[in-house]
Structure formats: C-alpha cells, structure tokens
C-alpha cells in the first residue's frame, strides 16, 4: 500500500530538483491548466505527466493510486458535464483535474517533507513583517502531514471498539470518542514538542 502523497526516495532529476522549483512548476501548471480547452491539449498534458512520472521512476500503479480517491468526484463531474456540456467538455474538465492531482502528487512523491516545508517557509519569509512566523507555518505543515495517518489510526481504533461492543454504525458513537482521542493526542503532541525543543527560536541557517 502506498498511502497518498508520501515521499518515495529516489535519485532521479526530479528528486534532485530544488523543492521551490517544483512548487513553482506546480503553480505554473495550475495557471496553464485554466487555458486548456481542447481534448487534444488535455491529452498532451496527460502525456507530459506520464513522461514526468517515468523520469521520476515512479510506477503507473502508484500514479493511479494517487487519483483513485477522486474516482467518485471525477465520475460525478463527468456525468454532469456529459449531460450538460457534452462528452468533449467532460473529458477536458476531468482530464485537467487528473493532471493537476497527478502533478501535485508527483511533487510530494519526489520531495522530502522537510524540503517542501523549507521551501514554503522561504516563501513565507517576507510575511514576517506582517507578524507571520514562517517557522511556525512550516512546523504546522509538517505536523499536519504527520497527523493524517495518526488520526486515521485513531478512527480505526474507535470503529473497532464500537464493533467489539456490538454497536452499529452510529455517527455520534463514532465522532465523539474520535474527537476525545484526537484532543488527547494533540495534548500529548504539544507536550512532546515542548520537550523536544520546539519552543526554541529557529536560527536562520539550519
């Protein structure tokens, strides 16, 4: 199982490219995607994405796994557009969506979280003047990424406990303990962060 958007170590040119450059490329792709209008253009874009995955040495299976969670949204969108705007438009809309998701996934798959966060922190530096602490932003991002699998694990525990006690799929009996556990986790995490020196001001080069 390759969970969504997790770094896959490698030595490809894409892996070695600076994180900032890759993020910039992603932003550029977002801008260009607005201009895509014809099915053939989308096909070209999909082709480019496929080549990029090849360059990064990431298998098609992993690539497909990145868009799988979008399947239902994509299907709904496609049906809507086929009915309202015709199949060509549907292909363009869903194709562009897939291209962007695949590219975003490619950036996270080929970049260490730390490097990604550092790049974002660098972009946020000028915001220091308006009272934003870039390192806090960076830490928050990294913690967010780290917390996704933890909360998924907590949800699994709550569901198991519910099943063990023979409770059905009651949303309240699921959400309340999940929130309680998440808060408890946040508390412990906060403690660990202080214990590990997160309150220290980060020196500029590190």
């Amino acid at each position: 199982m390759t969970p969504l958007g997790l770094f896959l170590p490698g030595t490809s040119p894409l892996h070695r490219a600076p994180a900032g450059l890759k993020l910039l490329g992603l932003v550029a792709a977002g801008v260009v995607s607005v201009l895509l209008d014809e099915p053939w253009q989308v096909l070209v874009a999909l082709g480019v994405v496929t080549v990029l995955y090849g360059v990064a040495g990431i298998s098609l299976r992993v690539a497909v796994a990145q868009v799988r969670p979008l399947l239902w949204i994509a299907l709904g969108t496609a049906v809507f557009h086929v009915l309202v705007n015709g199949p060509a438009r549907a292909f363009v809309v869903v194709g562009v969506l897939a291209v962007l998701v695949l590219l975003a996934a490619l950036v996270t798959l080929s970049t260490r979280t730390t490097d990604l966060v550092d790049a974002i922190v660098a972009v946020c530096r000028p915001l220091r003047r308006v009272g934003v602490d870039p390192d806090r932003v960076g830490l928050l991002l990294a913690l967010g990424i780290r917390c996704v699998p933890v909360v998924v694990g907590l949800a699994q525990e709550v569901r198991d406990a519910q099943r063990a006690r023979g409770l059905g799929a009651s949303p309240r009996a699921f959400v309340v303990p999940l929130i309680v556990r998440s808060l408890r986790h946040a508390d412990a995490l906060g403690e660990a962060l202080v214990a590990r020196g997160a309150e220290d001001p980060v020196p500029d080069e590190g």
Binding site: P3, L6, F7, P9, R112, T113, T114, A142, L143, I145, R146, P149, V150, G153, H185, A188, L189, E191, A192, L193, V194, A195, R196, G197, A198, E199, D200, V202, P203, E205, G206
Partner: protein, 233 residues
C-alpha cells in the same frame, strides 16, 4: 552525572474547589546513573517525571538540574534533560523516520551536513538505518519507540527521563528498549510498572498518593511497593 535537586516540591492540579494535590513535600537529590520510579496508578510518578524537565512546574518548592532552575531556565533544562513518553505516536512529530530524528537538531541550529551525519549514525545505532526515508506510521510499535528514543538521544541530553516507555510494547520489544537503555552512558530516570527492568538500577523511588514513601536499592524498594499494594484494597 548532573545533579537533580528536588526541594520541598508540591504540585496541585487545578484551583479552588477543583484543586487536587498530586505531589506533596517531595525532597530528593539524584546523581546516580540509574534511578527507577515506581508506584500505583495515580500516585504522581508522571507528574514527578515532568517536573524534572519543566513540563510541569512545581506549585511549591523548586527543581534544579545541574544548577538550572526549571522555572526560570526551562529551555536550558530541556536541552539537558531528554524525555521519552509512553506513546511513541504522540512524540514522533515528522512524517518520515530520518526527518523526525533531524527535528531536534534543526531546532538547535545544527548545520545541515552535521545533521545528516548525526542522524545517519543514530539511525544505525538504533537499528533503523534501513528505514530512514520510510513514513513513521508504517513502523511497528517497537520500532516507533526506538525512533522516539533515537530522536531524543541524537540531541545528546545529559539525562534521559522515561515515562513508562515499555507499557505499550510486547515482551520482545520491551526487552529491546530495556537493552538499548541499559547500554546508554547517560543518567537515566525510568518510571515503570515493569519491575524486572529495575534489577540492576542504583536507586529506586516509590511513590504513594503523591508522597515519596521509599527511597532504596531496587530489592528493598520493590519489596516495599509490593507490601504497599498488598495492604491497600
């Protein structure tokens, strides 16, 4: 070994009607290499452990580590005192193994290449070198606790305080952690319910309802704890 001085320490959680005294009049000076802490659930062990790195501040009295007061020099104390918690999931803060080990070093402003070298050597020492770029959440429970320990020890604290680090682990992983801890040259204070881990410790403290009731060699302290548990219903 740095000197840990706990002087007339009391701790109260909450205030007013909800106030709860969980530690009362604890005075102890620790300089041994291996110190164990045992006692019933709720007897104040975790609170005591957290006092030593300033995560919890004493309501009365004071705590000093190597001369630094936890109240006024908390950051300095925390650089000296590493802390390992029970649940490794809550202390792993970065998404991948190597990044988590690097976290504390980066916060301390250690230069990048030195970070990489120190991370690599610590990962090798803790048997995690094959997992450097793996997501932390895919590790086993035992590996997670090893990672948590590696992430603390990489910053080279003088004292390691551990609050039940083996409670969530199976026997094999608990033994592995115990083995790693036994090999550490640093001063270690271990809170645990696994009494056999304390066999060759220098000193063991027994807490009961917020009081330090016994301070002795492991054999005598464990015997005291057992009689305490047998007496109270």
């Amino acid at each position: 070994m740095p000197l840990i001085e706990v002087e007339g320490v009391g701790h109260v959680y909450g205030a007013g009607a909800a106030a709860r005294t969980v530690l009362a009049d604890v005075t102890v000076t620790l300089s041994e290499q291996r110190v164990g802490v045992i006692g019933a659930n709720g007897s104040g062990k975790s609170t005591f452990a957290r006092l030593l790195n300033g995560l919890v501040l004493p309501t009365s009295g004071r705590v000093r580590v190597d001369g630094l007061d936890t109240r006024s020099q908390g950051r300095g104390v925390r650089r000296l005192v590493g802390f390992c918690f029970t649940d490794p999931d809550a202390q792993i803060v970065m998404p991948t193994v190597a990044e988590d080990v690097a976290f504390g070093l980066r916060r301390r402003g250690v230069p990048k290449d030195e970070v990489a070298a120190r991370v690599a050597s610590v990962l090798a020492a803790y048997g995690l070198d094959g997992h450097a770029d793996h997501p932390a959440h895919l590790l086993s429970g035992g590996q997670k606790q090893l990672l948590a320990l590696a992430s603390v020890m990489v910053t080279e604290p003088a004292v390691l305080v551990m609050d039940e680090p083996t409670t969530l682990l199976d026997l094999r992983n608990a033994a592995r952690i115990a083995e790693v801890v036994a090999g550490l040259p640093e001063q270690v204070l271990l809170v645990t319910h696994h009494l056999d881990l304390l066999d060759d410790f220098d000193r063991v403290l027994v807490f009961d309802e917020g009081r330090l009731v016994c301070d002795d060699a492991p054999g005598a302290a464990v015997a005291h704890y057992r009689s305490l548990m047998a007496a109270t219903p």
